[in-house]
Structure formats: C-alpha cells, structure tokens
C-alpha cells in the first residue's frame, strides 16, 4: 500500500448553538492515499459536510475543533493559523460545495470567475497562462472552451456543475472533496458527470472524497466507503467488501433499505425510528435506539472503531458475520 496523503485522526468538532453543543463530528479517523476515491455516505445531518469543512478548515464562527489531528503529508493542519492554512487550501485540497452550482456569480462570465479564483490562490499567476489553463480544464470536464465567455444563466444545471468542477481543479489539487455534486441533477446528467469526475480523478491521480447520501452513487465512484451515522464513522472498508459483507448493523440496514432496478425484487428492510438529535446524542453506540441487536453494553459504552482484518474497520459491539 502506498503512503497515505491524508490521515485524519480522532477528529472531533462541535457547533455551539443557543440550545447547546451540536456534536457534529465525533472521533472520526480515516486515511486517504493518492489516487484513491473515498466515498463518505450517510443520511442528512450526520455530519458529512462538517467533516469536509474541517479538512479545509473553513469553519463557521460557531464551530470548534475539539480534538484530533488532520495530517496532510505528515503536517498537522489543526494547530495551523489561518495564514498558514491558506497555503494549502485550494492548492492541496479543494472542494466542490453542496449546491455550488447555484453559487456562481450571475454577473461575471464563467471563465473569468475561474481565472479570478486562480489569481487569489496562485503565487506565480499570469493572465494568459491562466486563460489557457481554464480552456484546458473546460475541455477536461467536457465543456466547450467557447463557453468561458458566457454567463452562468446561459448554462444548464449540468453545465454549471461541470464549471464548478473545473473551478475546483484549477489549482491542481492533490485531494478534491466533492460534496453531493450531483444531487440536484437528473439521472442522465448525473450519470455523465459521475463518469467524468471519476475519469478525471483517475487520470490526474488525485485523492477524492466523494460525499453523498445515495449509496448507489457511492458504489459507482468510490474505491473505499466510509459510513457515517450521527457524527461518527461507524464502518469503513473497500467498496466491494462493505456492500457484500457489512459488519455494522446500520450499514447492513442502509444497504437493504435501498431499492434497485436490477436483480430480483427483494424485500426492503425498514429501520425503525429516526436519526438522533445531535444536540444530545444517545450514550454508548449512537445507533443503539434503532438497532435490532442492541444490548446493555451498547447502551452504555462507545464501541471502538477497530480493524476486522483486510482494512475493514467498524465500531460495533455485535458485529455481523464476525
């Protein structure tokens, strides 16, 4: 195995609100190697976006990293100052934000917006070279470079999403984080973008963290999958392994609750209850109120996130299949 380029260790982050602390990221650990695509899957509000913004240290005012380390090539980013962080943000790690396609500025040409983003982040910036680069990026994401001269409203949803991807690639990052980049798009467009993103990631040998609530999409784009539940990473393994031999009951429940159009029409399982409120999450395993296997220990002690062999990690007191 190659050296990990990103190593997240016991990351914990809280939001302070008027009602109390929201425990949005709790003891999350994972690694990412060069050229690897990690899918981060979980339901709405389980903290996927929160993990991503920790990695970039783009935290809102009320967010605080309570503990843990984020090593990028061996350098811990957590203690760095804003000034120091700026040197790696966008250039080493960049991000496609949730609903970013709606955040393009409507009054500037799309090409100019990307050039401008490069100008603020690159040291040896030259305008003609940047234009050249943007044209190349447009070709890479499957857009006609002539479209650089157009405004966002002249783009369709799929084209806008491609432009946003091009923008995230502008500074040749080592790692790209894609937060639900296709959720608002139709299946046919989504399918095309997924393929292109995956192809680009492999071609440029980048690390990618792909965030989605849709396990079918995750199955398509990732080598490895991390499953999040209520602020914690509950299971992580390579894609095949996690889909066919899930260890955590939540992962198993998620998989069998997902309808598919191929294969036999199997019974969809139903998880009882609702995801917990992160203002006061359940003690012990956060999944225990909904878990069919839960026992006394689950209600009291937090299960350790441990290796079950073959890089398959899970945090459960009663692992499935052993």
């Amino acid at each position: 195995m190659t050296e990990p380029i990103l190593y997240v260790d016991d990351l914990t982050m809280h939001y302070t609100t008027r009602a109390g602390d929201v425990s949005a990221v709790d003891n999350v650990s994972f690694t990412l190697t060069k050229g690897e695509s990690l899918g981060l899957v979980g339901e709405s509000g389980c903290g996927k976006t929160s993990v991503a913004i920790c990695l970039l240290k783009l935290l809102p005012d009320n967010a605080r990293i309570k503990g843990g380390h984020i090593y990028l090539d061996g350098v811990d980013l957590v203690p760095l100052s804003e000034e120091q962080v700026r040197r790696y943000r966008w250039r080493r790690i960049s991000m496609i934000f949730q609903a970013a396609m709606n955040s393009l500025n409507p009054v500037y040409k799309v090409g100019d917006q990307i050039v401008e983003a490069m100008e603020t982040h690159l040291e040896n910036f030259s305008y003609p070279a940047a234009r050249e680069k943007v044209a190349e990026l447009f070709r890479l994401v499957g857009l006609d470079p002539a479209l650089m001269e157009q405004y966002p409203h002249e783009y369709s949803g799929g084209m806008r999403q491609r432009a946003v991807i091009a923008m995230a690639l502008a500074c040749d990052p080592d790692i790209i984080i894609a937060d639900e980049p296709t959720t608002a798009l139709d299946v046919i467009v989504q399918d095309r973008i997924l393929k292109e993103l995956r192809a680009i990631q492999q071609k440029l040998n980048m690390g990618m963290i792909y965030i989605s609530h849709d396990i079918a999409v995750i199955a398509e784009v990732s080598d490895c999958v991390g499953v999040m539940y209520a602020g914690r990473l509950v299971e992580k393994a390579c894609t095949e392994e996690i889909f066919h031999h899930p260890i955590h009951p939540y992962t198993a429940g998620l998989m069998s609750a997902f309808p598919s159009i191929v294969g036999p029409k199997r019974e969809l399982t139903m998880l009882p209850g609702e995801p917990p409120d992160l203002l006061n999450p359940p003690p012990g395993c956060r999944f225990h109120p909904r878990c069919p296997y839960a026992t006394e220990i689950c209600r009291e002690q937090v299960p350790e996130f441990k290796d079950y062999g073959g890089d398959h990690f899970a945090a459960c007191w009663h692992p499935l299949e052993g």
């Binding site: 339901e43 709405s44 369709s156 949803g157 799929g158 139709d186 299946v187 046919i188 467009v189 989504q190 399918d191 095309r192 997924l194 393929k195 609530h213 849709d214 396990i215 079918a216 999409v217 199955a219 398509e220 894609t239 095949e240 889909f243 066919h244 429940g253 998620l254 998989m255 609750a257 997902f258 309808p259 598919s260 159009i261 191929v262 294969g263 029409k265 969809l268 399982t269 139903m270 998880l271 009882p272 609702e274 995801p275 909904r290």
Partner: protein, 328 residues
C-alpha cells in the same frame, strides 16, 4: 382492463410564457400535451420522468388544482363516469373528498402556524364532517394509522417540532382522513432519507390496501417506482412515451428514452457494471415545440421519417405495453 377508476383523455396543459398587460402571449410551455391513460381501482400507476417533464402538472390537473387547456378527466363515481371539469359547488366539494394529493416537500406542505391536529382536521372541518370531539377522535385514529403514536403526544405539536419523516406522515394522514378513493402522490419520499423512506413507502402501500386507495404515484426514481407501482408510465417533455407493467418496462424497455433512463440509474452494487446508453444534451423546456417527435433532437436512433412526421402515437406492442416511437 375491466374496470376503470380514473380515465384521462387527450389531456393538455399549456402555460403562457410572457404575460404582457395588453399583449396576448404567443409562446406557450407545453407542460402536458395530449396525454391519455387509465387507472383501475386498487391499482397504483407510476408516473416517471426527469425534472420538467410535466409530472406535477399532470398530478395537479387530476386533482383540479389546475384546469386543463384541452382534454378530459373522468372519475368513476356511483357506477358512472363524470368529467371532473364540469363539477361545481357541492359536487366539487364532494369530489374533494374522493380525490386527494400528497405533496413532495413535507417542509412546505404543512402550515407552520397550525398544530398537527388542526392540519389533519382541516379537510374534515371544511367538509363539515363531525363535530370537534368526533374530529379529534378521527384525527387520533389517523395518527395511529400513520404510525405517530401515542396520538395525544403528537396532536398538539407544531410542524417544526417534527422530523421530515414525521411531517410526511402527517401529510399522508391529512390526505387520507376524508377517506378518498384516489390519491395523487407527488414524489412523497424524494425529500426523505433512505432509512425513513422505506417506512413511508410501506405505510402508503399498507394504507392503500386497508382503506382501498388508488394511487397515481409520481416519482423521478425508477427504483422507487418499481416497489410502489404495478404499472409505470414514462413521461418526456409533456408526453407519455412508454407505458407498461413495471417489470416488463424495466426488463424490456422499447423507447430509446426509457432505455437511456434505465441505463443511467446507478446500481447499489459495485459488482454490477452498467452499460450506459449515451444520449445527447439534456432535457429542454417545451416552448412551442415542433410537431415532430419530442425526443427527436436527442434520439440516438432517429431518422428522416421521425423528422418529417408528427409525434408518434402510443401504440400497443402487445401485453398492455405501449410505446410512442416509430422505430421501436
């Protein structure tokens, strides 16, 4: 099909594009055009299509939230068919008891200032069913049915005190409390998370059987439609392009659009590799579209015949499988 509950014939809805003060609009969005289908009692028909294909518009026409530009909708009641466009006054009110709608967004479809009790009791109140005490009991029963127990702890909460899944249950309760026979469900699960979605899907199926409800189930997700519907109609730019029994449609799609759509659905199994069928571009807006096949511009198998002729009619290719394509 022996018996029919809802029959739609040549249904169209055009929206004027620009509404000048003195100028009659020349441009229309053909949101729904010449759509026909029938639904048997107890059956559930899926209306599937991409964004902007006219699914919601069709649904709203069926519950008379919109009036059609052309065409008819017949509802069977007391053994005879009535054209719902002709209903007025008392008859319209009675129609509102028989036909209901469940909306997509559970955050938007409940009035934030009304308690759950007031929301579910509203249809009873406007229909003049029961007195306050009876209504309270009916609402409580409905809450039990949709799985919000005990009802006394939910009745007097406000929507913002419920989760998305719970809100959608309330919306379902509101639609079913007057005992409708036909319900248009407009993407009722698309805003919900997977672990909650299955519960709502089963709830809807269960209630359909228990209360004898027929659904028009609108969704953009073929996989959900597979589990919820006996038959599926695929819409593209305001037209139904294919219609068949669910498994037949998924296994043997005939229309090139349906094929592309099915091939683009991601599969939650990393071992299965899909063979995607590429089609050009993305779905346009149907503003004064030319008479030829709506799918012509993106169709991978179109030829000169398709270009020169009108939009193909839905034709039976056997076993209740209908396709609107010259080349299928």
């Amino acid at each position: 099909m022996t018996e029919v509950l809802v029959r739609v014939e040549g249904l169209s809805k055009f929206f004027p594009l620009t509404r000048g003060l003195f100028r009659e609009s020349r441009e229309f969005i053909h949101a729904v055009e010449d759509v026909s289908f029938a639904i048997a009692p107890g059956e559930s028909l899926g209306l599937v299509g991409e964004s902007g294909s006219g699914k919601t518009t069709t649904g709203k026409l069926l519950v008379r939230l919109l009036d059609p530009t052309a065409g008819h909708i017949y509802l069977r009641s007391n053994g005879s068919e009535v054209d719902i466009a002709t209903l007025r006054g008392k008859d319209l009110k009675a129609f509102r008891r028989r036909v209901q709608m469940i909306f997509q967004d559970p955050y938007e479809s409940l009035n934030p200032r009304l308690t759950i009790f007031d929301t579910i009791a509203e249809p009873l109140m406007v229909q003049g069913i029961g007195n306050v005490l009876e209504r309270e009991e009916m609402v409580a029963e409905m809450l039990v049915l949709v799985g919000l127990t005990p009802p006394s702890s939910f009745m007097f909460r406000f929507p913002h005190e419920l989760s998305g899944g719970q809100r959608q249950r309330v919306a379902i309760a509101r639609a079913l409390v007057v005992g409708p026979t036909f319900v248009v469900a407009d993407e009722p699960t698309s805003m919900l998370d997977v672990s909650i979605r299955t519960g709502i899907m089963y709830l809807m199926q269960d209630l359909a059987q228990r209360l004898g409800v027929t659904y028009l189930y609108i969704t953009h997700d073929l996989a959900v439609a597979r589990y919820m519907c006996q038959r599926i109609a695929v819409m593209y730019l305001g037209k139904i392009v294919e219609q068949a029994e669910t498994e037949e449609l998924l296994q043997h799609p005939q229309h090139p659009y349906t094929r592309a759509l099915i091939s683009a659905v991601p599969i939650p199994d990393p071992r299965i590799k899909r063979q995607a069928i590429e089609i050009k571009g993305s779905i346009p807006t149907p503003i004064n579209p030319p008479p030829r096949c709506r799918f012509y511009d993106r169709c991978p198998i179109a030829d000169a015949f398709c270009e020169q002729n009108d939009h193909p009619p839905l034709r039976d290719v056997g076993g209740g499988h209908y396709v609107a394509c010259y080349k299928a």
